[in-house]
């Protein structure tokens, strides 16, 4: 009985996922403490040198730094199991509340960025593949290369500053509006960051599409279909693209997972209060619980996205299903 359970594929996946998460937890916990400084010196800077031993002891007990590491680790783990992700003294809010506010923002940005990336990347990839080594291929490849090599911070700063200067258009300067409070302003604020991120991600998607389409086009069944007189547009979409989807979906899922980890640089430039900024601020302030729990949440979303991508294969490709 037990053996059957252990052999079950879903159970195996879950066990592997849990083990991964535990590994991440240990890794983050150790790495954070390997960074020089603690919350006291992060708050006080060099003024921390003026603390008397009694003052330092008072602060250590306030931040829970007087506990042995092993106690800190297991009390964090224990709290996690009861849904307590910790407390941020900087924000004066629970990490759960902070994460629940930041995660949807990051999720929205990730979805929009992926949409932009697909809208740019797939057609461009198909265009390139339609006539390899031609002028249009070169054009497509150049755009792809630009997406890969133009740094996000440069593109972001330029867009922001030029639009503000020329058109006075700067929704991101207006204070962040959550999607459900002011959807119109929110979408404007997401437009530029999603465009910048989407442009960057369009490149790998474009390249994957190009390769996959080229490969499928050389398959026998395409020639057969063409011989049967399938109209070119239908051939491109139903036969070629459909069969080229698996690598494209893999690449998209991977990029989506990364985006859910927070795009720190773009979030900083456009003042988007996403999960990436939450981790960055936490590291700067040495708020251990905040960073540990947030990184774990990010790892969890990554694992879930991977699982969903796997499931998507079964929908796209009947061969996986059988």
């Amino acid at each position: 009985m037990l053996r059957t359970i252990a052999r079950n594929r879903v159970v195996k996946r879950l066990a592997a996922a849990l083990l991964t998460l535990f590994g991440v937890a240990v890794f983050v916990f150790v790495m954070l403490r390997a960074i020089p400084g603690d919350q006291i010196s992060a708050n006080l800077g060099t003024e921390a040198a003026a603390l008397t031993p009694a003052q330092r002891a008072a602060l250590e007990s306030y931040y829970g730094l007087d506990q042995p590491l092993i106690t800190q680790f297991f009390s964090w783990m224990g709290n996690l199991l009861t849904g307590n992700l910790g407390f941020s003294s900087r924000a004066q809010a629970s990490v759960l509340d902070l994460t629940l506010a930041a995660l949807p923002v990051t999720f929205e940005l990730a979805v929009l960025s992926i949409l932009f990336a697909l809208v740019i990347g797939i057609p461009l990839g198909m265009l390139s593949a339609s006539k390899p080594d031609s002028l249009r291929d070169g054009l497509g490849q150049t755009v792809g290369l630009a997406g890969l090599s133009v740094p996000a911070f440069l593109l972001a700063t330029m867009l922001l500053s030029l639009l503000a200067t020329w058109f006075g258009f700067n929704p991101n300067g207006r204070g962040f509006a959550p999607l459900f409070t002011d959807p119109l302003l929110n979408l404007q604020q997401m437009l530029l960051p999603a465009l910048v991120l989407g442009f960057g991600i369009a490149a790998p998607i474009m390249r994957t599409t190009r390769t996959a389409v080229l490969e499928v086009r050389s398959d026998d069944f395409i020639r057969t279909a063409r011989a049967k007189g399938v109209p070119p547009r239908r051939l491109q979409l139903r036969h070629v693209l459909r069969n080229a989807l698996v690598p494209i979906v893999t690449m998209t899922g991977l990029q989506f997972g990364y985006l859910l980890g927070g795009a720190v640089v773009v979030e900083q430039i456009f003042s988007v209060p996403g999960i990436g900024r939450q981790v960055l601020l936490g590291i700067q302030q040495k708020e251990y619980a905040l960073v540990q729990s947030t990184v774990l949440v990010i790892a969890l979303t990554f694992v879930i996205v991977n699982l969903l991508t796997d499931l998507l294969y079964r929908v796209i490709d009947p061969r996986v299903r059988s």
Binding site: P36, T52, A58, L127, R136, G168, P232, R233, S271
Partner: protein
């Protein structure tokens, strides 16, 4: 017709649709984005790390809290000590008792009354070690605080302390209500300042509203929002589109961009100073001749010009306007390599010497450039400055432990020279292990400075302190830099101050 042509048409159509969607979204913005009718917005790169005034050291936190809380004394725009919650104060003949006469009718933002009990509660708590207040050591000379009557407080001292009135003027000495606790104030600040706390969205914005109970002239603005925009260039863009009205920068490059954009930029010399700290407890710099050799080998103007684009002033130890050191009063006011070589010979190190230094990365813009320039200049004097660039947490750790021969640092300054250097350069100062230098002469001078309330006499005493520090090259003082206050053209009445304080938000208006 080839397959490709069809595909291209499809692509063009798709891209066209995407572009139209984008444009439509952009078009939704409607009117220009200006918020002139809305709140007054200050752009900040990060929000306060604490709202509890006794523990706040972060620049952004101090700036916000200064507008919410009141102190017994205050500074005016020229950093003179002026009455605050205490209308007047007198020092007894022997200097051991200071009596504060409190302003009457003052209320906290929550409507409760402010009286001498609150003063006693605040001063006692700041002094108590378990509070871990950052200004505790400024009350080192305080023996007892007595509330004589609701409007009078008597502070008895163990030794005369002429710096007390000045030390009380900082927000770390804020007067809190004896009914409040640290836990409550962390989320809901309650002070006697011109503004009251209105609300906060962590790491996004913090809003203040006019405090109707304020004892002085009411603030002109109804609402002030500190809006977090992490990137300085993005703050500038937000100012350009009229969404942000005021921002303070310390990077001269950003200030230059702001000027180019047509924003009003005011530069204000700061009390903080850039220095090459030498720790005489460690290595070869324990020899005064080595320290003097370093001092003579440095052209400070060159450091300022190369690292900070000349945006600042060469300085001696004391930077506050009333006690300013004369930067020409030092062993080598201009660079003198011959003299440097003589000092090195006197130290018996004609063949050169290597000094290990630490530099922080990212704490302030010019640190690494200063280190590089100092290294180049010292190399010509046969002194090798071997510097290590550290992430700011690692730098702070090394600094606190005093584990360095030299450190390139930007240290905060204070209005009163006793508060500024007494803790560094007296033998029992709490930062002396980091400063690395003290002498019986300095101990004596600092004691005299504390015991004398006569202004002219104090000036003479601190001029001697300054000379003593320079003659022994305790550290190498380099320059003070400017901060740059950028405002949009519709802002009026803001006065920048050398402490970097935003206290004049209360006189600020829209034109």
């Amino acid at each position: 017709m080839s397959v490709g042509t069809r595909a291209r048409r499809g692509t063009v159509a798709t891209i066209g649709i995407a572009a139209s969607v984008a444009l439509a979204l952009a078009g939704c913005s409607g009117s220009p984005q200006s918020e002139a009718e809305g709140p007054f917005v200050i752009g900040v790169t990060t929000d306060p790390d604490t709202l509890f005034p006794w523990k706040a050291t972060q620049f952004q936190a101090v700036n916000v809290l200064q507008n919410i809380y009141g102190t017994l004394t205050e500074y005016d725009a020229d950093l003179n000590v002026v009455p605050g919650l205490a209308e007047s104060w007198e020092v007894s003949e022997d200097g051991l008792t200071v009596t504060f006469h409190l302003r009457e009718g003052v209320k906290f933002a929550d409507g409760s009354d402010f009286d001498s009990e609150d003063v006693k509660f605040s001063l006692d708590a700041i002094k108590a070690e378990e509070t871990a207040a950052v200004a505790a050591s400024s009350l080192g000379s305080v023996e007892e605080v007595t509330a004589v009557d609701p409007a009078t407080v008597e502070v008895s001292l163990t030794a005369p302390d002429a710096a007390l009135a000045s030390n009380l003027a900082v927000v770390n000495m804020a007067m809190l209500s004896s009914d409040d606790t640290e836990e409550e104030l962390n989320t809901t600040p309650n002070g006697t300042g011109p503004f009251a706390f209105d609300g906060r969205v962590a790491s996004q914005s913090l809003t203040l509203k006019k405090n109707p109970n304020y004892w002085g002239d009411a603030a002109a603005l109804d609402t002030v929002e500190f809006r977090v925009i992490p990137d300085e260039d993005s703050i500038l863009s937000a100012m350009q589109s009229g969404n942000v009205h005021l921002a303070v920068f310390d990077n001269p490059l950003v200030a230059q961009t702001a000027t180019d954009m047509g924003l009003d930029v005011a530069e204000t010399p700061q009390l903080s100073y850039h220095t090459l700290q030498l720790n005489a407890h460690n290595g070869d710099v324990s020899d005064v001749n080595v320290r003097l050799a370093i001092q003579c080998a440095i052209d400070r103007q060159e450091v300022l010009d190369t690292a900070a684009f000349g945006e600042g002033e060469v300085t001696g130890p004391i930077t506050s306007p009333a006690y300013k050191s004369d930067p020409a009063a030092r062993p080598c006011p201009t660079r003198d390599l011959d003299k440097s070589a003589e000092y090195l010979a006197e130290a018996g190190m004609e063949d050169g010497v290597t000094i290990d230094a630490i530099v922080s990365q990212g704490e302030y813009a010019s640190s690494v450039d200063e280190a590089q320039n100092l290294k180049d200049q010292l190399a010509e004097a046969n002194i090798e400055l071997d510097f290590e660039v550290l992430e700011s947490g690692a730098f702070v750790d090394a600094w606190i432990a005093g584990e360095f021969e030299a450190a390139i640092a930007l240290n905060g300054g204070r209005q009163d020279p006793d508060g500024m250097y007494g803790r560094y350069f007296t033998s029992d100062g709490n930062l002396n292990p980091v400063a690395g230098y003290s002498s019986p002469e300095l101990d004596e001078l600092f004691a005299q400075g504390r015991a004398t309330s006569d202004e002219a006499e104090r000036k003479e005493i601190y001029a001697q302190v300054s000379r003593e520090l320079e003659d022994n090259a305790a550290w190498i003082w380099l320059f003070t830099s400017y901060t740059f206050t950028a405002t949009t053209s519709n802002v009026d009445g803001f006065v920048p101050v050398a402490t970097g304080s935003l206290q004049y938000l209360r006189t600020t208006t829209f034109k």
